[in-house]
Symmetry: D2
Subunit: 497 residues, 4 copies
């Protein structure tokens, strides 16, 4: 398949690149782990996200909420911020700020014993709301004392996670959530009015009703609300085999349509019109053991989403940066369909490069289509990302994209390609026998096979235009730059191949 | 061009892999530089050479030899080992030992003022031989005190550099060199008999006569001699333009024949038969500004040599590991035809991979030809290096090599390819405009384009044999491994592309 | 108080320095933590222990033991070594080997639900012993495959922890432990006869009977036994206040006498005479919240023990290297009476230096007393450690120790002092207000105040003897060296104060 | 000697702390050295200077200025910025900016062959001024292209070094210097008017006349001038023995008076009144082999100067940060009286701490005297530096300083002491025998003995005042802080010594 596009100076395209505002992470207690920190450092060195959001701030492995009995037998709360400080210190050292998710319930503060995940996050309402709001306030005040008020008030705060699922919030009790939300939001504003707080952090199940009712509740109760949050995933129900779940991709347009509805509901209220919506989780599959996550098709699918999600959302947080993650238990193998951009062993997966490429996509949009987005930077150079998304259910195809771009000087075309042949560590891992416990030499091999192929060539100018061609095999993702070249060879130097 | 080879268990091939015994370096004073140390660390991390040899141990920037006048006006020598210790400390920290080259002459100890190179190494005999031998002995005694006698006596010692050229030894005075050699060798053995000492460190000019006369001199004078040293380069006279020199490659066989003659002369003396010959310098071109060094053809040519040089030589020291080098002055650009395996900016050149690949070639040789050498490791796997050497004067060609190897289990073929398309940082540097002073982002791009392409595939066994095919474009170099695979998939895991 | 000692060449003293054979650690799952690894690296860089022993290898946070149901409903065990490899990789990278303690029981393999500690280690026997021995064997076989058989068979193995306490082993059931021991030891030897295995890992409660019965059991049942293990602590029962426990020190001699009895029991069996005894845990207090651990008196007390424990024990493992430790929950403050040699914030406590000093005590013992041990190294220099142990119940005192040592050349005396004034980070932390969450600047201050004071002076020789004086304030610990000086001043250099 | 001072809230003191604006360095070519960069990193990590100034930007080891002959025999200049970029990249990575000193003369551009120093800086005027200004402009333009215009125009530029000495400028030819200054300053402003340029960079010889004449020249010629530069040293003529020079300290007041005269001359011109004066070099001794530099007295003397120099100078650049320095040749020993704050082997000298202490002296000055300067920080705490300067020619003395400070809350007094007993690596080096080539263990010992002694104590409030006492032995330097303490002990925690 060959497609031709002509870019002209009159072209009118818009593109909002919020891809690096936030990234997801496994539960906060795992942020104490060395492997977690090493992977996060790797991600930050290459990509540099601004915020990080994950579960379990108040879960018991963080050890924040404690109780004891005083001499006369009263139960007294006390707070332990030893581990919280370790986590926050390490985040800030890596130049990433928390997007705080308030949850789950400390066991001693919980009204029940229902838990979620292998790591047993308690998902019941607090036994007393006063205990809960005191915990929230004490935590925020501690953070402000340690990191500075002016810094901490800029950390967005989200109340709970997916209360629309009974797995995450007892009975998916909507009124109970609204109560939690209102009391929590007010408690936060009591600490400092400048904090930004939002909800309802729902996923796609019964989402329309939840968003409507939540907005309406805020509207009527005057509960403070600074932004709306929700999640979005791109797959259907999984088929489970052994440790794994296999899923089909949804059409990207389906997912985008779902989000547009949320946008429309919010905008239907005058006082909330244009309010920020943060997609605090998104990915293709929503299970941490879906082989799709490790494949090249995932990279292309996410590129498709990143080209569009900024149209109506302030951020969209890929779930997650790395594979130190225990929701289903500890993975048995390095490639196991985990959410991470980086596999254990410090191996960037194809989707890692989707984000690394979008990092460099800054400038005026000159083209956007279903397989490409191109901007022109201030210095006149072009930067584009292109992909060839081929879902399992579709026939294989290669595509060739031709772009004619206005340009008056001799240029260089730089292309970085991520495809199933040149940048596919999963295949290498499979080909050498799917070792569960790779040696360090094997990990080095995986890393060597996980780097984009880089190529350059000089491009001829024809009538103040240049034409470039990008070949994309099945599920390929590519980044390109076209920039003017002003060669000044050293005295006597003659380049020859 | 397609070539077929069948490997059988009866095959008789020999292959001595001494590629990592020694590596060359610019003058020792440059070892004080941070960029030098960074490049050496990079080389050691990937390749790990055992020894390092370069000029200028006694040149004035090392500041070892000093003189002062005492109260009654006598000139007294004193020695300063401050910089020597810095250099040796850093070498040993990088797990590399010096192959000591004694030279050049400290200005204050010199009999004349003739110098060589931009950095002005004095190449005249000592004003007194007693001053010289005292300097040598004091230096060795200091090293033994600091690093331990048993360690230092294992550092090989070579007397001077290329005395057969008048540029390196005043008038190329053979008798004066023999005197220098004899007195120095005896002085060394006086310090400790266990030291190994050798010469005459000549290059290819009038080499037959020099080797004959030197061996004869040792034979007759009973001068101590533990090994023979000489140099070997693979190019003709250069044509000079501006900062550069352009050269044609010699036939590898020419160079190998030259070295065989040296071997034959040495072996013609009963007492010296089989004595170690160390090629203390070799490369394609012998000038530090020959663009050839940066090209892929260099990698293929050196592979050809490394497959054979061990037949009659104990070591062969590629000249040099890095491009911090000043013989012709300071380079104006990162790619400038320097000798280094690594270009400034920490960019591995194609030839870097030749050595990285030979590092892994350990085992029983099962095949050796003009474009390949293959060994079988103890675990039954095969490891090979193949190349497609196409000199400028020859027509372009691709070759396809088919090897049929005995093997009874399912296998994986791993190939790492270095060719003009996939691993050619010189081309990328040219394509983006030959920047003399690359930014750190440009250097990152060069490094990304300097990595071998890695691929794996499963290989089918047919009648206890497998057949693998390696495609080599012009001047390509490739490393491959064929190893048995015993796949144990995790419960439920189904690999799919 | 002043004490004089004359050392003569005829002096007969013995001293076995096994202080660095093993060090304790919190549960193995904490070895995944970054702060744990950072502290262990700090300890290894300064002290370098050979082995490390801690609880929780099989506890659920290590995630090794898993079960699933197959199609026909049978429960099948499967093993997950992902985290085990991370821990072992990191240990070996820090050049420390595990002293494997087999325990506690994975929840799914347990026969009951009794747990110990905040982190809930299950202390019940296995539901089936076959399940247990399969787990042990699978784990050892995995380790051998990853790290090499010849390496892993040298890792000592201890069966369970303190089965003589009902808190650690259900009902402190002696016969059940013997069964566990026998089956486990045999299962280990089935994997490889070269493994060394031992028990009963008891503490001081009813220890005489337990040791006797255990030895007797092995004697009669022919259960394999390569070494005996037990624990030793130097404090009485604690008084508890809030998060803390306060204890009095026992006389060191009491503790040593207790260990001598164990030695005597073992030696009373001909086949076990002289068998290695490993004290797999020792410290002053046995609770992780005893302020004693952070004080200077602890350093002096441990020095006293290290001077003697090697007399009848192959090793004695200080419990523990660092303060990432959760037995009583997560500590609320950096100084909290934790076991660690290093406090959170990377602050070496006084006892850290006890081990750092014993590291350098290699040579022939020339003096040992209740406050000193001195050796002469091969080069003739002396190295000593001295202390002034003043328990809370004793009157304060300073002591001055004079040693007259045979020496014929001018000497230098080097002293490193750790006392309550010069090396007492606990006091600095207290003086600045006992901050629970120190800033990085405060941690830097604590570290600066946690370094020994270093002093040197020239010592005069009088009749082939020198006399040195070491002043020790209350609970001071000092290391000294006396070594010959051969001053060679640089030309013209005149030292002046 | 005891001195009492009462601080009141009404006290009027001024203190300008410009101690960290600039630091000196050996010639720029040495900035390529690893040891140089390691030392600079150490200094920046602790102290963090803003600018760095040294000689030799245009000297031949930087290799910037080159010439060649074209086809018709004309000599053409070309510039090589390879090494300059390495140096500037490394400076900026260490967050330090150059204070550019333009000099010395490249050999090929020089009008004569007179040189200065062991490293042979050419000190003659250019053979053509056009060649010189082209070199200056090309260099600045290159820097602007690489590091950004807006960045580089903030790098101050000084023309030449000490032209009032014939050693540094042929014949100390004043008119020739004025010509150089004027043409250079104009050439700089031609590149970008925003550059700040200054001179005459003189030392104390005939300084009054030089300053007057220079100012007058600028006044009359309208030569651009943005600041005045000069040097200041605190010692008399040296007595030379072997490799060393021994000197007596001048009274600090002498030196300060000298600088006041310069200030007065500048201020006597209306258009120059209040113009910045940069002391681009200062120290006690002006020779790089004066043992004084390594002693504690140097630290006290420099503290005395830093307390006052900001009164009339915009900066004062200590000469130099480290001991990688070759003006007199390469040092034979680690302690050799070099200028550096850090001795080779990464050993901070006492004067290192003078700067580390002044770094923290920010706030409102509440006391300044001949032995102390104290500020009150915004949070109400006090920070002071005190010293006890005892020159060789004076009798020994200890002093005790008592300060009564207004304060209403319980306080902690923190003191960091640097004196001849507790922080004197020179003495330790001497005591162990003055080793010329220390082992790494010896260097570790020197570093351990080069750290300030840290102590804390609680201070009692009496009538809203506290009184603190600082004891200073001979040549001691101390930093103290007095800050309020608000102790919140953990539940149950009872601090005991």
């Amino acid at each position: 398949m060959i497609k031709h596009y002509s870019i002209t100076n009159e072209a009118k395209f818009s593109f909002s690149n919020n891809a690096l505002f936030c990234i997801g992470t496994g539960r906060m207690g795992l942020a104490l782990h060395k492997a977690y920190q090493d992977q996060l450092k790797y991600v930050q060195d290459y990509i540099h996200f601004s915020h990080i959001r994950g579960h379990g701030l108040f879960s018991d492995d963080m050890a924040i909420y404690q109780e004891y009995k005083d001499e006369i037998g009263n139960t007294i709360a006390e707070y332990n911020f030893t581990y919280l400080d370790m986590v926050m210190d390490s985040y800030l050292e890596l130049r990433i700020r928390p997007f705080l998710e308030l949850g789950f319930m400390p066991e001693k503060l919980a009204s029940g014993d229902q838990t979620v995940f292998y790591w047993k996050g308690n998902v019941t309402p607090p036994k007393t709301y006063e205990g809960w709001t005191s915990l929230v306030q004490a935590t925020l005040r501690h953070l402000m004392e340690r990191y500075g008020k002016d810094e901490v008030v800029n950390w967005p705060i989200e109340v709970w996670n997916e209360p629309n699922l009974s797995a995450f919030w007892k009975d998916a009790d909507k009124q109970e959530y609204f109560k939690l939300y209102e009391l929590t939001a007010k408690a936060i504003k009591d600490v400092d009015k400048r904090f930004k707080v939002g909800g309802p952090a729902i996923c796609g199940v019964d989402d329309v009703n939840w968003v409507k009712d939540f907005i309406n509740f805020c509207h009527e109760s005057f509960a403070p609300i600074d932004f709306i949050t929700r999640h979005a995933y791109g797959t259907e129900e999984p088929e489970r085999i052994g440790h794994y779940g296999y899923q089909e991709l949804r059409e990207p347009e389906d997912l985008l349509r779902e989000l547009q509805i949320t946008r429309d509901i919010v905008d239907s209220y005058e006082e909330y019109r244009g309010m920020d919506i943060h997609i605090t989780e998104f990915n293709t599959s929503y299970i941490p053991n879906c082989p799709l996550h490790d494949q090249n098709v995932n990279a292309a699918y996410i590129a498709r989403l990143l080209s569009t999600l900024g149209d109506c959302n302030a951020s969209y947080s890929y779930w997650t940066f790395g594979d130190i993650f225990e929701e289903n238990g500890v993975p048995f193998t390095p490639f196991h369909g985990g959410f991470g951009l980086v596999a254990n062993g410090m191996i960037p997966k194809p989707t890692f490069w989707t984000f690394a490429f979008f990092k460099d996509l800054q400038g005026k949009c000159v083209h956007r289509s279903e397989e490409a987005v191109i901007v022109q930077a201030q210095d006149g150079s072009y930067r584009g990302i292109v992909w060839n998304l081929v879902k399992n259910t579709e026939p294989d195809r290669n595509i060739e994209l031709n772009f004619t771009l206005p340009m008056s000087k001799e240029c260089c075309l730089l292309v970085k390609t991520v495809d199933e042949k040149c940048c596919n560590p999963l295949k290498v891992w499979h080909d050498i026998g799917e070792p569960a416990y790779p040696t360090s030499a094997q990990n080095e091999l995986f890393r060597a096979s996980a780097m984009p192929a880089v190529s350059t060539e000089r491009v001829v100018v024809d009538k103040e235009n240049i034409t470039i061609t990008i070949n994309l095999s099945k599920n390929a993702l590519a980044y390109f730059e076209v920039f003017p070249v002003d060669q000044k060879s050293d005295r006597g130097y003659v380049y020859s191949k």
